[in-house]
């Protein structure tokens, strides 16, 4: 019997249906007992009432929730826009790095320089530098919004990492594929575009999805520019009331998005592995 990939945990050895049901029951009961115990320890501890008041305060939650949600909506928008730009730019840079021959040396060197430079700088520093620095220059014809430059900093940083992911994928394609394509008379660019890149992207989809999860959280870093996204909204509430419930609210929202993506990544990776195995069999 073929089973689909599972969303949680390692693959269990395949057995009969009854055995499967039995082990599922055992897993369920043991999880219930363990989490019940943990909850009991926390709730009966002496410090719990204080913790609840500071972190899990229902009335504070109701008060801060609308601000955090609207901030989080901005986080999502920043993430979506940045991700699309990153996926395109990173692919272009990875393709440039993969061009062979002396004629392409200058742009290849430029791509490497960019990747080394940006990967060597902390993201937060890049955000501060661009987000506060560029608008302060008041250059004509250049956007002066902190939001714009904050997202640009994220794009620059993640593009460098993502292009390395693509490049690993490009290099994982068998050399005969490149030679076969070139032998048909295709140029380097067409060989990359029609033959190498489609295979490369497929090979690195799990790694790209991991990047999604990472960026989806890192967009919150633009709070340092005073942009009212979820973390900033929670911080404002905290500064006013000395209550941390807003941060918990923001954390919940981030988890609601990142956990499903992480589970999907594992599911996809597992399915891909199974498919490759079936193919080589």
């Amino acid at each position: 019997m073929r089973r689909g990939p599972r969303l949680l945990g390692p693959r269990r050895p395949s057995g009969s249906r009854e055995e499967g049901a039995r082990s599922a029951l055992i897993a369920f009961v043991s999880t219930l007992i363990l989490s019940g115990l943990a909850l009991w320890v926390v709730l009966t501890s002496e410090a719990w009432p204080r913790v609840q008041r500071q972190f899990f305060n229902p009335s504070a939650f109701r008060e801060v929730w609308p601000d955090v949600v609207s901030g989080f909506w901005l986080d999502i928008q920043m993430f979506l826009v940045a991700e699309v730009v990153i996926l395109i730019l990173a692919l272009i840079i990875a393709m440039i790095r993969s061009l062979r021959g002396p004629a392409f040396l200058p742009i290849r060197a430029l791509a490497i320089f960019y990747i080394d430079l940006v990967r060597g700088i902390p993201v937060i520093l890049l955000i501060l530098l661009l987000g506060f620095g560029v608008p302060a220059l008041q250059l004509s014809g250049v956007p002066d919004g902190r939001l714009f430059w904050g997202v640009t900093a994220l794009v620059l940083s993640y593009t460098a990492y993502t292009s390395e992911v693509y490049r690993a994928g490009i290099e994982s394609v068998h050399e005969s594929q490149r030679m076969s394509a070139r032998s048909l008379g295709l140029t380097q660019g067409k060989t990359l575009w029609y033959v190498i890149v489609p295979q490369a992207v497929r090979n690195v989809i799990p790694a790209l999805l991991n990047g999604f999860v990472s960026l989806q959280k890192d967009v919150a870093l633009v709070y340092v520019l005073g942009i009212r996204e979820a973390v900033r909204a929670a911080q404002i509430y905290n500064a006013r009331t000395f209550n941390y419930t807003g941060y918990i609210a923001a954390a919940i929202l981030f988890l609601l998005v990142s956990v499903p993506v992480a589970r999907f990544t594992d599911w996809y990776t597992e399915r891909d592995r199974a498919r490759k195995q079936a193919m080589s069999a």
């Binding site: 005969s176 030679m179 070139r182 032998s183 048909l184 008379g185 295709l186 033959v195």
Partner: protein, 248 residues
Amino acid sequence: MAVKLELASVGKSFDDKIVLRDIDLTVQQHEVVCLIGSSGSGKSTLLKCVDLLVPIDEGAIILDGHTISGADVNPNQVRQKMGIVFQAFNLFPHMNVLDNITLGPRKVHGLSREEAEARAELLLERFGLTDKTHDYPDRLSGGQQQRVAVIRALASEPELMLFDEITSALDPELVAEVLNVIRGLKQEGMTMLIATHEMGFARDVADRVCFLDGGLILEQGAPRDLFTNPTQPRTQQFLQRIVEAGRL
């Protein structure tokens, strides 16, 4: 007969290792030349040099009277006159058979999709693979994959075909169907340069056989002469081993 391809004093090294030395080889129009020799003797590199996939260090490669090994030549144009098929991983796994075959004609030769597909369908029919038109490579047997690879090369209407041990990764029972395709091409008068380990096939199909050893063409001649009366001790030794292995 006109000279199709000429290699003059061609040399090639990878780092310190010399893989081809002082290769002189002439292939006439419609001639079938087989390259034999043990693995690492330079057969495969020689073919890749001819298709300009590997740059040579010394000498010259001349196609139809024009030197193609120079820096002023556009390799993409030269390659349109030739087709090459490798040992394995020829087909693009993300494209079906039809797209594999039409990629070159469409993206290099500028044919419309309809024209390219008509040409591909004609070739598929000729080689008995019409029912595989829309299959992906992983659905084909190794022999079928290699035959499609040959068709893909033919779709660009080459004047010279290069084969790089195209049966050595195949199960024994699939070898014949691929070799028969080459026999068919010989009858049509295709000029071919073939690196092979199949000695029986080489004796059968070749007009001339070259024995390569250590990057050198040690001996060449008509298959009847070379296989029955090799003059060089190294050739004798090589053929002796082939006979002992029951491959000739």
